[in-house]
């Protein structure tokens, strides 16, 4: 969906604020870890990015990064039937505090830790439709659900920079589907072809795009 999260090229957010902190307060650190553990424990449902993108725009923009994570975690716990919003409200009301709770599960701890270190690169693209150097155009679209094709490149023409490999289309993944698996490319755009002539010297923007987002130019 084309929501407030799709920020590339947007205006009105002011200057970049010089804050290099990774976390603000210990609760953000634990909330981050809790989200990772909940994934290993398989107590959530739904696609994490897609769920966060479903936040109402004002709430999304108002929230800090880990507030968005928290909103998403709670929502996905609720969708899985693990807890209800009322459960969480009640826990807040009685002052429940994770720092006071203790529950040990060495097996879960081991699996959660291992999960952070798992995974490997994408397989080589089996049948890429486009080759490096080829001109492609980003399709114009208005996806109902999650997508990883940002708005600021829609309809623009670029050149295939590299073929990364094959991957499950993010839009399908967010719907819980297992296909299509298709080539992912880095596509190179000239800044003029995205935003017109600017007061900055021309530059390049390279965007990773699934094959479904692309078409041959006229």
């Amino acid at each position: 969906m084309d929501g407030a999260h799709d920020m590339g090229g947007m205006d009105g957010f002011g200057p970049v604020v010089a804050d290099g902190a990774v976390f603000h307060g210990d609760w953000e650190r634990r909330l981050f870890a809790l989200t990772r553990v909940a994934r290993t424990a398989e107590i959530t449902a739904g696609h994490s990015r897609a769920v966060i993108e479903s936040m109402p725009p004002v709430e999304y923009l108002e929230a800090s990064y880990y507030e968005r994570w928290m909103w998403g975690l709670e929502e996905r716990l609720v969708r899985a039937g693990t807890v209800t919003h009322a459960d969480v409200d009640a826990a807040v009301a009685r002052g429940a505090d994770g720092r006071a709770a203790t529950g040990m599960d060495a097996e879960l701890a081991g699996r959660a830790l291992a999960a952070q270190q798992a995974g490997g690169p994408l397989p080589t693209a089996a049948e890429p439709a486009f080759r490096p150097g080829q001109r492609v155009r980003v399709r114009r679209m208005r996806p109902e659900g999650h997508t990883r094709c940002p708005r600021y490149i829609r309809g623009a023409t670029g050149v295939i920079e590299r073929v990364h490999g094959d991957d499950l289309l993010a839009d399908a993944a967010a719907r819980g589907e297992r296909d299509p698996v298709e080539a992912v490319y880095a596509v190179r755009f000239r800044s003029d072809d995205l935003f017109g002539p600017r007061d900055e010297p021309p530059y390049r923007v390279l965007v990773d795009l699934w094959e479904s987002y692309l078409e041959e130019p006229d």
Partner: protein, 211 residues
């Protein structure tokens, strides 16, 4: 960059932290009490991202590439494998691409749609990287943004902004600072800041966003 907000208008990140903190703590308590997650698992994950993962990893990769030409070649042709040689890998760094800064080309990384970032080599992202302003502006006025970080690029330098919109994560291989020939690998790694590996600073620069 500015370290204050607009005059007229509230700071939209000053939403009462206490409410969020209380809810986060309650959520953790609730899941622990029900035996769905465990505190040792949370502690283990906290410790992992606190101790094992961070820009020190990326800095070792960069320093190795500076001193070992064959490693550099492997790193640029197959980032994931070369990074794994040094023992780094995992979530949000499964498929790594390393892009090299040269006197003619400068690379900078962003994720406009959320805040994708190469966790195994850089740790978790700094606040500015996750900010609306950075996500919005660096694809549309990158030189102005870099200039706010104290990084002025020659107009002739080809600037390449990488938007991490799929499951590929990027690491910038900065230029080795002039006058660093006498330094060993470990000393070189100490010159490589997180910001240099995102592309908003040069290696060896004091500049860049405060950590």
């Amino acid at each position: 960059m500015h370290d204050h907000d607009h005059d007229h208008g509230h700071d939209h990140h000053e939403r009462p932290a206490s409410d969020s903190e209380l809810r986060a703590r309650a959520l953790e308590a609730l899941l622990v009490e029900r035996g769905l997650v465990s505190t040792d698992a949370i502690d283990a994950v906290v410790a992992y991202y606190e101790n094992d993962v961070g820009p020190q990893n990326g800095a070792r990769v960069v320093a190795r590439a500076w001193v070992d030409a064959e490693y550099r070649t492997r790193l640029l042709s197959d980032g994931s494998s070369a990074i794994a040689e040094l023992g780094y890998g995992g979530v949000e760094g499964e498929h790594m691409v390393v892009v090299e800064n040269t006197p003619d080309v400068h690379n900078v990384i962003v994720c406009t749609l959320c805040s994708c970032y190469p966790w195994p080599v850089l740790g978790l992202p700094p606040t500015w990287y996750k900010s609306e302003a950075y996500r919005a502006r660096v694809v549309a006025e990158p030189r102005r943004v870099l200039s706010e970080f104290g990084l002025e690029l020659d107009p002739d330098v080809e600037l390449r902004v990488w938007d991490s919109s799929a499951e590929v994560r990027y690491l910038v291989l900065p230029e080795r600072p002039a006058g660093s020939d006498h330094l060993g690998e470990e000393q070189l790694a100490a010159l490589v800041s997180r910001d240099a590996m995102i592309g908003v600073a040069r290696a060896g620069d004091a500049a860049g966003a405060p950590a």
